[in-house]
Each structure stands twice: as structure tokens, then as C-alpha cells.
Amino acid sequence: MSPELAAIVERAQLLTEDLSLTSVRTWKQAVAGRKAIGHMPIYVPRELIHAAGMLPVGIVGAGDRLEIIRGDAYFQSYICHIPRSTIELALTQRLDVLDGMLFPSICDVIRNLSGMWNILFPDRYVRYVDLPQNFDPQAGGTYWRHELDTLRNDFVRLTNRPIEDDALRRSIAVYNENRFTICELYRARSLRPWFFPVSEVYPILRAGNVLPPENHTALVREYLRLAPLEPDRRDRDQSRVVLVGMFCEQPPVGVLLTLERAGCWVVDDDLLLGLRWITGDVSCDGDPVQALVDAFLTQSAETAARYLPDGEHGRALVESVRRNRAEGVIFCAPSFCDPALLEQPMLIARLDREGIPHTQFKYSEDTGQFAVIREQAGTFSDSIRLWSEA
């Protein structure tokens, strides 16, 4: 690997592994008065945070890098893992650098976690971001506009400075660029996945949770430039798969590496979906808050955590399979993840109708044993290749 590429991958890995959010502390210390706002998956309007001069920080638990000592005392065994490691991070002061936390309405766990935050940290800014499940402009649009105006006012109070429309338009443009660049990376990986191993792509993406978006865009671009220059990276006889179910609690990187080593090229996924929740550009013209509203109503990703008015579950997944020339789908959802696991039978039914092979397993962010996953994914990959040859 070239020293340049090794350097940016290592930087991204360090950012991903740094549970103390050192980079966020450094960013805040660089200019007096800077603030950072944390947010849980999946979607929050980061443009508003950015326009307020604050740093949006995506929090996705602690993965397999933190021993849970106090967090387990807050959650029963049948609740997913991300809230317990997130609480552990907070109770061990690792999240003290954050000046507030946003909890978007993804499921009842994250919803109730917002209330726990209110109780445990009464002096901090906490907001439950109740995304509309009605996508009609008059109903859901009016409601969401009100919620965004409230958020904007909250941020004005937190920073003690106004958020000008022009500043918000600039932030919208910054995030348009960031999403476009991330999508470029996805397109490039889909074309030649051997140049973009998941061990690199994942930390490069995840760095977007803590870096200012301008810096993250630059990082992704640099990676996109350097990775295809690696002479040793060649196509192998692997199956092309789409991963589904990883939009909230993240798998340990070991799971992703295992899939690749088991013979799967990941050509699309829903990892860290919040980074590209809005599937196109948000308008930089006119009323910028309304532009965010309109984008949410008309360009939100189709995923398990949102209502689909037409009931066409699996449409986006099948499109992804076709677009990325995938040969199969791997459902890998966190244990006890209501949205992903309740959605799964609908997606499977759709894949079956379309004749698309699939397999499924569950993980927890601190899963440490990958042998079964490797065996299952390897068998799946082999069977796909056999069918393809037939």
C-alpha cells in the first residue's frame, strides 16, 4: 500500500476507534466558543448544526472497543447493544465534549434513550427529533417545518448567534458535496470493488461522523484518488452482494472483513445511512429551511425506520441489486433491532418474487466470534457462484 493511502486509512481508523472524541475536542479547542452536537442514527438535519457554527458528531455506540460495566445495568438483556454502550460512553465522560444530543425517531429504543438522557444529564441540551412519517407537504411538511424552526431557534440560543439563511444555504451546499462524494465512492466500489476493500471504505465513511463535512469530503476524495492506484489489487472470483440492516447499530469491522474473506464483494450497503439519507441534492435556492423540508419529504432513503406510503417494501433493495449487478443480498441486522428485523420478512418476500438469492444472520456491535458468519457467508457466496455458472 502506498504511504499516502496508508496514512489516510490509518487516520480514518484512528478517528473511528477514538471513543474519547479527541478530534472533536481538538476542533473545539482551535477556536474559543465552538460547540459540538452529538446525534444518534439515522438522520438529523446536520446542515442546521453546521450553519450554527457547530460540529455535528454522529454517535453509533462503542462497538467492540469498550467494556460495558455500567451500561448493562440500564438495559435488560433483550434490548439491542447500542444504547448500553452509548450510555457507557456518557457515564465515563467520553461524551462530555458534546454540548447537546439529538435523538432521531428511529425506534422505541432510541426514543426512550432520549428520555434517559434527560433524566441522567438534566443540565445538557437534549432533543428528540421526531421525524414525520407523513410525507404530505401540507401535513408532514408543515409539521417538519415547525420542528426544524424549533431546532434552529434552539441552536441560536445555544450559540448565542443568529443562523442566517445564507449560512444555511452554504451548509446545504457543503453537505450536498459531501453526499455526492460519498455516492461517488459507492459507485466506484460497485464498479471495481477489489480497489475499495471494506476494511478501508468503512473507516473512511465513518470518519464522517466526527470530521467537519468539508474535511470529510476531502478525505473521501483523496481515498477515491489513491485506492485505484494500488497495483496489487485485482479482481477475484467473489460474489457481489448487498448488505442490509446495518443502518443503526454498527457491526464490528471484523464482521465486514469476514464477509469479504468469505468470498463476498460488498457492492452496496446501508451502513451509516445517515450520511446519505437524502438521496439527491438539497436545493440551495430560496428558503433554505423549506429546502430541507422538501428534501426530507421527497428524497429520503427507503429504509425500515420510515413509513412507505405506497407499501412497496423492497423496491429500493431490488433496484440496488440491479443497479450494482449484485448476485445476492445478505441481511445482517443487530440482534433485537425492531426496525430491521420486522422489515426483513417483507424484503425477503420481495427478493423471492424477483428470484434474488439471500441469506441472513444477526450480530451485536461487540460480537467477537466470526466463524459461523464466515461459514454461512462462504456457503452463500459459493452457492451464488455455482448458480451463476449454471
Partner: protein, 433 residues
Amino acid sequence: MNAAPDRRVPEDIRKEHSMLLQKEMIASHYTALAHAPQQNRKVVYTFVPGNLTELLRSFDLLPVLPEINALQSGMRKLSGDYIAEAEKYGHSEDVCTYVKCDIGMLKKGNIGPTGERLPSPDLLLLSYTGCFTFMKWFELLRQEYDCPVAMLHVPYQAEGRILPHHVEYIVEQLRSEVIPKLEQVSGRRYDEDRLRESLRLSAQAEDDLVWVLESAKNIPSPIDAYFGGVYYIGPMFTAFRGTAEGVAYYQALRNEVEDRLRQGLGPLTPEGVPEKERYRLVVEGPPNWTSFREFWKMFYDEGAVVVASSYTKVGGLYDLGFRHDPTHPLETLAEYCLGCYTNLGLPTRLELLRQYIYDYRADGFMINSIKSCNSFSVGQLLMLRQLEQSTGVPGGFIESDLVDPRYFSAANVKNRIESYLQMLEQKRAGATA
């Protein structure tokens, strides 16, 4: 002068008038459902929290509540097979067992609790109130039925108060989404006067329900506000709010409780009336349905009476003063939806339980944490600690499930209840020593 009450007569042979009334009401509702297709009556599937029964009735539509079917299946020992059936179709063992019980029942022919086939829905009214799983549940049902869906998104009361734009959002959805679809399905125009009349009846019954629930402030309590409470809320939370039958039921129930109060009697349970009210408890969380009677008996055997519970508020917090208001029909429906217990932020839930402990002079509180229900369960361990801290009253914690018999360990639950009550006893002895 009244004869001395017989405390030992088991409920198997002693049914109060209200119980018989409720049984008849429910049976007739299921019969009406079973014959709905022949009688050309239209059927709407919807959920208990945030249900719009008055609105549905104003269109002459019959409600079906899948949670009620699931809990009935649980009580009739049918849910285990239904859940297994759903898991056979690929539904995860990790998710809500109400959903799986319902899907399993559907796959096995949709035979309702009374043994008759339930009609397919003419409309799925997805009232997304206080529970994310509701949305996925009806998305799953939508794959099974060829019928329209009306989605009503009810925002969460994270800030502990109803905000005007939340009410406006719900009213707009009622006007633009729900009512047009009800008109389309029923073939009737929206009749606001009819709705107002129904809401007036609701408020009347709600007054009596609140009186009954608050009768538990007396010592001894004439009711059990959890195990008995689930029967008391039955008509109110399901198909009978806003009906003359509902009003009659709550009047009868109130009369009976008034009578028990006059006689100084404790609650009527399946085992009879407890000899003595030894412990007054507040309970958070839904009950287990598969071993409901056994679960109740564990409390009865120890002389533990539940004087207030959060579960009996999932279909509305009437005891905090809410009444359906016929003068603002759509707004009052919106406020009703917003105010259901599981739609309240955790700090609000905590404060409510704290208030119950004081107002009902409880000796302790117990949390029944339900594996299936993240809406209730997430945060309960924190609530336990916070409540103990703020009230000085010890809390107990047990775990079970709604309708999955695999998750009710009778010996373990009994052991925990007994240990907890022994602790209360020791605390009491210590206080008087």
C-alpha cells in the same frame, strides 16, 4: 342491614353484573365481526393506543384491534402455536410477540377468540401512537391484505406537554388522510354531529372509569387496578367508547365498586376476595397474558393489591383530567392520541408513577418488564432506581412477556415477588420497631 359478605366464594361461581355485561358486549362485538361480510358491514383494523373508535363508529364501521386478539389468544393458550407459525414464516424470535401472534393467527385462518373467523379488513387504520412497532405491524399486514391503509402519525410527547403544532398536525392528517379514507370505505359522509354525540358519551363513561380507578385510593382498595384493571379498561379501550353500551357498563361497574366500598371489601379476584390487604402496590408495565390468572394469584396469595398501574393508561390518561370534548371533535381526538401513556416521555412517566405512589399510599412498586415491548421496557431499570431514590419506596423488578409462553417462568416470577414482598415486610417491621 347488609348480610356479612362471603369473602371465600371464588369468582368461578360468582360473577358481578358488570362482568356478565362485558362478556356479552364483547361476544356480541365478535359475532358482529364474524357476520360483517354477510351484513355488508365494513371493518377497520386499528390499535388500542390512539384508537379513533368514536370516529369509526360515526361511519358505522366496526373496529378490530389486533393487540386484543393477541392477548385473548394468549389467555386462551393459543398464542404459542401462533408465534411458532409466524417464526416459521421468517419472523425473528427477537421481535414483538403481539405481531407474531397476530401474523400466526392470520396464517392459520384468522380465527378470532370466540372461534369464529374474523373478517379481513376493509381498511388498515395505522394509528402510530406511542409504539414504533405498530408501523411495522401494519406494514406487514398490508402485505397480506388487499385494502387501503390510512396512516396517522402521532408525535411523541418528549417534552412532557402537548404542543399546538402537534395537535394541528394530527387534525390535518385526520382531515386529509383518515376521514377521506373512512368516507371511501364506508360510503358515508363525515357527520360531525354524530361524532360529537359519541364523544359526549365517551366523556360520560370516562368519568365513571376514573371514579372506579381512583376508588383504589381507599384502604382497603375495593379494586385491583392492574389485574382487575385490565377488565375495567376493556370496553373503554376497545370498541365501546362513545356508545350507550359503554356508558351503561361503566355505570354498572361504578355501582358495584361503590357497593364494595360501602362494605369495606377488597377486590374481587378469581380466587375470591383477599382476607386482608397486606401490601398496596403500584405496577408499571403490561401483564403477562399466557399465565394471567397464575400471575394474579401470586399477588393474591401474598395479600398484595395493585392500587394503580401504568398499563391501564395505555389507552388514555383520563385520571389526569383528559376527557373527550364534543365541542372540539377533531382536536380532542388529537389530544387523546397524544396523551396515551406510551406516548409520554420517560420523565413524565416517572413523575406519574411517583405521584401514584404518593396518591395511592403505596407500600411499594413493581415493574413487569416485557421482553416484547421496547416502548415500555427501555428505561425501566433507570426508572426503578429513580423512583426508589425520589420516594424512598423500594421497587421490585420481574421479567416476562406478553403472549409468548416461553418467557413466563412461573417459579422465577413467584420467587421474585415473594422475595420482594418479604423485603417490604422487613422494611415495615423496621419502621415500627
